[in-house]
Amino acid sequence: MLYAQILVNGLILGGLYACIAVGFSLVWGVLNVINILHGSFVVLGSYVAYFAYVHLGIHPFLSIVLSGALLFALGYVIQAGLINRVIAAPVLTTLVLTFGLELLLNNAVLVAFSADYRAVQLANPMGSQIIGGIVFPMERVMATLLALALTGLLYLMLAKSKIGRSIVAVRMDPEAAALMGVKVKRIYAVTFGVGALMAGAAGSLLSVVFPISPLNSTEFLGIAFVVCVLGGLGSIAGAMVGGLALGVIESFGALLIGPQHGLTIAFSLLILLLIVRPTGIMGRRGYE
């Protein structure tokens, strides 16, 4: 029963991880940019949820709309105004640029909100349900279900909508897409915006699970990295599988070696995978 409980815990955590990583994966896959800002985007989403709840009384599960919209705008502006200008430069340039932007943004968040941990204290918590001897903390379960639903929505958007098809086309061959009349730079900005949107929405959902602080951004970024490498870059399904896998691995790892080493296990796994199988567990490419 203990193992079943740990498995459930891992899956609940993993759904949230998938949601954190999917936007990061999208940006990496389509733009070939590693967005070091991603962790701070998640943190910003959590702050939006916190203030929306404290001042406006909006439940974090509803404020994903708000945080998603705000983060989309922020991401769009950053890509259109800054990163697009060096998108053709070597990998190191965009990597260092987003790192510089991360230093700026994270410092700004730190000055604005301080490093103190905050938590959303829900007025009507849903509590826990025990089904078949396994405890289901309902807020977390809801957050995870919403996270998976959002990821599914993103999948549908890429597969069905016009803008989604453009994103897929740009990912496969930017030059061919440009010839077919796709405004590639605009699609880059939209993609980066969508990546930020997913981060922001994930941040909102996380606000009911984890305490909020600017110091968390590095951990979220690390999770996004590991999930992408685990699941393989460039597919929504990969991010899902990678996220759930990481959640389960971390839960069982915490049991075996101790909870403080969760991320270490993840990172060691990451290096091992990079060495042995850089294309990830799924090993497929393309958003199809």
């Binding site: 990496w28 070939n32 590693i34 800054l82 200008r85 060096v86 430069a89 070597p90 990998v91 190191l92 340039t93 990597l95 260092v96 640029l97 790192f99 510089g100 932007l101 991360e102 230093l103 700026l104 943004l105 994270n106 410092n107 700004a108 730190l110 000055v111 590095t218 690390g222 990295f225 490498v229 080493h261 991320l263 270490t264 990172f267 060691s268 990451l270 290096i271 990079l274 060495i275 850089p278």
Partner: protein
């Protein structure tokens, strides 16, 4: 050609004079300046070392912190076990180099972002191992180094000159690589690795050699740093910023050039002292702003500003007198 040789001689002479002047810094007997000088030399070692793998070979390595921390802990542990200080520094350099060789064999087949991430995560894993392995490293409590029985002033001079000596070695290493077939081969790898392999370059050997060279002096500098500050702890010597700062310095001065990273290191230190010490609350943001400005306004670094202009002029002149130069070429 002659003009180029003259330029080269002038550059070498100016560098030697600058090194001699810096070496005379203790004459001012200002311990604050001496501390800055030691920091500057250390930054130069990190930036010049990164330049071998990142600048010449074009591999975006974020392993500097791993090599630095490994060197610091190796040196500290060996000194604690009774090895004389200078020998501990040498041993730390060699340990870092051996580690880089093995790591390079494992991850240098990765390209672009994948290599960057793998190299970045290595420092995180070492940090965790160091923190957990309390019996050897003191864990999160950190590690104290043996006290040296000479005066504070003499210590300051000793560490300054030692750090400077390693910095000069780093500069010499860059100079040697740039004029040797290794540097030429790395440049080919940076521009087109498949083609480099087709023209007969053993790309694996060259990349691993570059990675090992980019580690050896960083490891020694880490050990020297540990001796200098007497006390180290994991988050201090394995900090991610230790991997990022050298890249910024090299880009500031001009990555892939010999002098650029050294110049960048000095400028970076000056900015760090002047700007960030006064704006403690937002020093990270100031660094971020510097990075963003650097990428948009100075993409080739300071030296790129000079040589870039020169190249453009040469090309323009060639374009005007193609027929002339053909005749000259035939005569020569």
């Amino acid at each position: 050609m002659n003009k180029g040789q003259t330029m080269h001689r002038v550059a070498v002479a100016l560098t030697l004079i600058a090194v001699a002047l810096i070496a005379a810094l203790p004459a001012l007997s200002d311990n604050y300046l001496l501390r800055l000088g030691t920091m500057g030399a250390m930054y130069a070692i990190l930036a010049l070392s990164w330049n071998i793998i990142g600048g010449f070979a074009g591999y975006p390595s974020f392993s500097t912190a791993a090599f630095f921390g490994l060197g610091a802990y190796s040196g500290a542990i060996l000194q604690g076990a009774g090895l004389p200080m200078p020998l501990a520094w040498v041993a730390a350099g060699l340990i870092a180099m051996a580690f880089a060789t093995l790591l390079g064999l494992a991850i240098l087949h990765l390209k672009g972002h994948y290599f960057a991430i793998a190299s970045l995560v290595v420092a995180e894993v070492l940090l965790e191992i160091t923190t957990s392995w309390t019996s050897l490293t003191g864990g999160g409590m950190g590690l104290n180094l043996p006290i040296i029985r000479i005066s504070i002033d003499a210590q300051a001079r000793l560490f300054f000159w030692s750090m400077l000596a390693i910095a000069v070695m780093a500069l010499g290493m860059n100079y040697w690589v740039s004029r040797h077939r290794l540097g030429f081969g790395l440049m080919c790898i940076r521009q087109n690795e498949d083609a480099a392999s087709m023209v007969g370059i053993n790309t694996t050997l060259y990349k691993v050699t570059a990675f090992a060279l980019s580690a050896v002096l960083v490891g020694a500098a880490g050990a020297l740093y540990a001796s200098w500050v007497f006390y180290i702890e994991p988050p201090d010597v394995f900090a991610t910023l230790t991997s990022v700062k050298p890249i910024v310095m090299a880009m500031l001065g001009g990555a892939g050039t010999v002098l650029g990273p050294a110049i960048g290191a000095v400028l970076f230190l000056a900015m760090e002292e002047l700007v960030w010490r006064n704006l403690l609350q937002i020093h990270a943001a100031a660094l971020g702003l510097l990075i963003v400005a650097l990428i948009f306004f100075l993409p080739g670094g300071l030296l790129g500003l000079v040589t870039g202009k020169r190249k453009r002029r040469v090309v323009a002149k060639k374009g005007e007198t193609t027929s002339n130069s053909a005749v000259k070429g035939g005569a020569a």
